[in-house]
């Protein structure tokens, strides 16, 4: 009768029913019309012991080939990084895992101070004043950024979107667009550099006077290339729009962050700082901005204050933006976010410090350069001439894809993302290669050798 998660014997149940003033359990659920009650057991597998269910779940895990078995150069928003053991040690603490949103500050100072520190580190990396307490992932962070940009511009509904935006992010934004009445104006990339075409951006902004809420640029963009953000904020300002930048936080250890260039809203995916790729979730979306835009910011935020005795304290604050207070007038519907992932990122960033993070970023970029140099020897060139960080699109000879894929399958290697599968206007044999500090020289040599031979001129 009793179950290992339910501490109730049949004797106790009987006594508790009596104490509740009823004879039978059915007396407690009279509000449910008899004919609507389930008259049969649920059709799910019989209850399993911990041993049996572990066996079943492990069977499924073993059916996958993870990044620990395959040599993978997949990127496009997710990259594999080494995570020090101390991160999971802290993340596994039940004080963090089994608590909930810190509504009662006095019994939740641990999570609150941790989020406050996370906000500080995110704002520092993005070059902004404030950050919220997290969003679901990079793609939904972009959507929240679009909603926010609209609110910052008296409900303008038009967006100038760089065509070099992550295509999945673009798709998610599209899902939300019909209901919000959003219009997307594509801003092309330049043919040589693969960078945002400024003239095209300016054209969208000036041709749609009073309609564009934001110019949306991603850096590094989907080709892995850094965007020059200088002057974009002014361009937006002149059109009454805001500048929304999707930025990879790891790149911002090496590269000036969007906040420095006056970006109004900075969003992106932060899993690379301490969270495993996990098939893309749980991920960690972030959003950083400025105090002047705080009233339009989505999500929870923690502030510092004092307790009744003047001791330093932390609590959820600026809540008049949020759904539980403002209901249909809230800046966002978000409630649960990615709390535990912010613990992971906080511990990771604290362990690495500025020097450690910068070194990881340098490792990523250096390993990409090693691949680039190797491929150049076989005559394989980048698709564009722009400056990459840890990811870059390479153009393989026409008709080589099948050979590359066959060779990779044999070698247990995932060479990267075939860009034309996901993006229009990209040559079919373009592969997006992402490197990180986890790739050994041997891994890199294997990739270069396969792409060079199978992908070399036929």
């Amino acid at each position: 009768m009793s179950h290992r998660f339910i501490p109730l014997t049949s004797v106790e149940e009987k006594e508790m029913l009596q104490a509740s003033g009823v004879e039978r359990f059915e007396d407690l659920i009279q509000a449910i019309p008899q004919h609507l009650r389930l008259a049969r057991p649920l059709d799910v597998p019989p209850a399993m012991s911990e041993m049996a269910l572990s066996r079943e779940v492990r069977r499924l895990a073993q059916k996958n080939k993870g990044l620990s078995e395959l040599v993978s150069f997949l990127g496009m928003g997710w990259s594999k990084h080494f995570i020090p053991a101390a991160v999971d040690t802290i993340v596994s603490r039940s004080e963090f895992t089994t608590a909930y949103t810190p509504y009662q500050a006095e019994a939740s100072q641990g999570s609150l101070q941790q989020i406050f520190e996370y906000q500080t580190m995110v704002a520092e990396i993005a070059g902004c004043e404030v950050s919220n307490a997290s969003l679901y992932d990079g793609a939904t962070a972009l959507v929240e950024g679009l909603i926010m940009a609209s609110a910052c511009t008296k409900n303008r509904k038009g967006f100038a979107l760089a065509s070099s935006l992550n295509p999945r992010y673009r798709e998610v934004a599209q899902t939300y667009s019909s209901s919000n009445g959003w219009t997307f104006h594509d801003v092309a990339w330049t043919s040589g550099e693969g960078a945002l075409d400024r003239k095209a951006a300016e054209k969208v902004l000036t041709e749609n006077v009073g309609k564009i809420a934001a110019l949306v640029v991603q850096t590094p963009n989907t080709f892995g290339l850094l965007e020059d953000l200088e002057g974009l904020a002014d361009l937006c300002k002149a059109a009454g729009a805001v500048l929304l930048v999707v930025s990879d936080p790891l790149s911002n250890l090496l590269v000036d962050p969007p906040g420095v260039f006056g970006a109004d809203i900075v969003v992106g995916e932060m899993h690379a700082l301490g969270v495993p790729t996990s098939l893309g979730g749980p991920a960690l979306g972030y959003l950083a901005t400025w105090k002047k835009h705080l009233r339009q910011m989505p999500g929870r935020v923690v502030g510092r204050t004092l307790d009744a005795e003047g001791k330093r304290a932390y609590c959820l604050t600026a809540q008049t933006r949020e759904q539980h207070i403002r209901r249909e007038k809230a800046t966002s519907n978000i409630c649960s976010n990615q709390g535990l992932m912010t613990v992971a990122a906080s511990v990771y960033m604290a362990l690495q410090g500025p020097k450690g993070l910068e070194e990881v970023a340098e490792q990523c970029a250096t390993r990409l350069a090693y691949v680039r140099n190797g491929l150049a020897k076989a005559g394989i060139k980048p698709l564009f001439a722009g400056v990459p960080f840890q990811e870059q699109a390479f153009r393989l000879p026409a008709g080589s894809r099948a050979r590359v894929e066959a060779a990779c399958r044999t070698a247990g290697l995932l060479p990267g993302v075939w860009l034309s599968d996901l993006m229009p206007n990209v040559p079919t044999e373009t592969i997006l290669v992402c490197t990180s500090e986890t790739h050994t020289k041997q891994d890199l040599d294997l990739l270069v050798s396969i792409l060079s031979s199978a992908g070399g001129a036929a």
């Binding site: 998660f5 009650r37 949103t101 520190e117 990396i125 899902t175 307790d307 604290a350 410090g353």
Partner: protein, 485 residues
């Protein structure tokens, strides 16, 4: 005292030059950053991140963790949040490299186990809820609400109808109207009747061919089953409106009745509530949605399909498109799958049953001290009316703070809005009679203190790491990051 209880941040403990990780080996030529990234792009001012040793970092966060109340330590009767015990094996399984190391863009033939798990979980949730199809993609309950409303909109549009209104009871969670607004709908509030349930006459008077959906929480937020649910669904369906069930309170129904059998067209699940995945201090959650067959073509893409044991990903042209950058919070799905296997039909049958019994048992023990606005019996939770506290010069917030002095977390307070000085208590099925008895004693003790020594309650807490936190000052001064300067 050496133990750090000062709220000092990582940034104040930082000593420049230190770090908590070692330098990574270089097995490829290191040309330096300047050779890779031109000066015009380079970061000019390093971010002011902390500089600490590994041990210092671990100690900092361990000390922080000790300041959290959490389920493993004690009772957490936070109504509407279903704070039940989180089994430990789930944590082990979710960390298996075969799950945690997967990349979302891997070819489908390398993630067959993950796709099979998602496919199986979808079908289990469909069976438990009586729905025909499930999408696991939404990352939390509110995300599920929004996704469901986008599905409903797509359904109406496919029939040539651009319906503008969503009806929402005044007792609903704030996420309902917020999600409806973000999905582009106009929100219309439906009153609660004197018994705490939906005012069906008010609902009927507001139904029209412009209504896209009625969002209903069942059991509702005062812990009552909506007895007239069939009549409500029929009335909505008669004007072509869809009926949405907010599944925040699904725990009460598990094994007892199924939303699909009650007449709902669409709903969301909170895997972090009903299916006991850990709440993580505010996520990650997982908010799958279930729909009846007429809505299934519109579910988010990609969809997992099972072709004779080979699992593939499909993008139906009728889909609303993706709502997440990948598949949703996958590792949360792993935990929920393990939970359903652990429970089986016999265990699941006890979930709703025991959750309901525990709530009514606890209510019976404390009702002499404080009453509910609405009469029970209740489902999985009950909402006390704390108005009596005002006669003692106190508020529900004071009462909640004092409860925490006794080693329990506070109930959800000031929600739902239709109950004055509300205190919402949800014990869940994983609490023992001993815990419920002890909580009842504490509750009545605090109530006695309210009468005998109101100042003690007014100045609570007294036994926690901090005294009462000044949230007014926090909102006024808005210190949202560490002030370095």
């Amino acid at each position: 005292m050496l133990h750090d209880d000062t709220g000092r941040t990582l940034f104040e403990k930082s000593h420049p030059g230190q770090r908590g990780t070692g330098e990574i080996e270089w097995d490829v030529p290191r040309g330096g950053i300047d050779s890779l990234i031109p000066a015009k792009f380079r970061r000019k001012k390093a971010p002011r991140l902390p500089e600490l040793s590994e041990g210092e970092v671990v100690r900092h966060f361990t000390n922080l963790s000790s300041k959290n109340h959490h389920i493993d330590k004690g009772f957490y009767p936070l109504g509407s949040c279903t704070m039940k015990y989180n089994p430990k094996v789930h944590e082990t399984l979710a960390r298996l490299a075969g799950f945690a190391s997967l990349h979302p863009l891997q070819p489908a033939d390398t993630i067959q186990g993950a796709l099979e798990l998602m496919w199986r979980l979808e079908h289990m949730l469909a069976e438990i809820s009586g729905m025909d199809a499930v999408s696991l993609q939404p990352a939390a309950g509110a995300h599920g609400e929004l996704t469901a409303l986008l599905v409903v909109r797509a359904y109406h549009l496919s029939r040539g109808e651009d319906r503008r209104k969503v009806l929402i009871p005044d007792s609903a969670h704030g996420t309902n109207p917020a999600s409806a607004a973000i999905a582009g709908f106009e929100c219309v509030t439906i009153k609660s009747a004197p018994d705490g349930r939906v005012d069906v006459e008010d609902l009927k008077s507001k139904l029209s061919s412009d209504v896209a959906a009625f969002m209903m929480t069942n059991p509702n937020t005062v812990g009552l089953f909506e007895t007239r649910v069939e009549e409500i669904c029929a009335a909505c369906h008669s004007v072509g409106a869809q009926v949405y069930m907010d599944g925040a309170n699904l725990n009460a129904l598990v094994g007892i009745t199924r939303p699909g059998d009650l007449g709902f067209d669409v709903m969301h699940f909170n895997l972090h509530k009903t299916f006991t995945t850990p709440h993580g201090g505010g996520g990650p959650g997982c908010g799958p949605i279930g729909v009846k067959s007429h809505l299934s073509a519109f579910l988010p893409s990609p969809r997992v399909e099972n072709r004779d044991g080979k699992f593939t990903l499909a993008k139906p042209s009728t889909s609303i498109g993706p709502v997440h950058g990948a598949f949703g919070n996958f590792l949360i799905m792993v935990r929920a799958y393990a939970y359903i296997l652990a429970m089986g039909p016999s265990g699941l049958a006890q979930v709703g049953r025991t959750a309901v019994l525990n709530a009514n048992y606890l209510h019976q023990k404390i009702k002499a001290g404080m009453a509910c606005k609405y009469d029970g019996p209740y489902m999985h939770e009950f909402v006390l009316d704390g108005s009596i506290l005002k006669t003692m010069g106190l508020h529900t917030s004071d009462f909640a703070k004092r409860l925490m002095d006794f080693g329990v977390y506070a109930p959800t307070i000031y929600f739902p809005l239709i109950v004055p000085e509300a205190m919402m208590i949800e014990p869940t099925e994983t609490e023992s009679r001993e815990t419920l008895d002890r909580f009842a004693e504490i509750f009545l003790e605090v109530l006695r203190e309210c009468k005998d020594d109101p100042e003690l309650v007014h100045t609570a807490p007294h036994n926690l790491p901090l005294k009462r936190v000044d949230d007014v000052k926090a909102a006024k001064d808005l210190v949202l990051t560490h002030p370095f300067d």
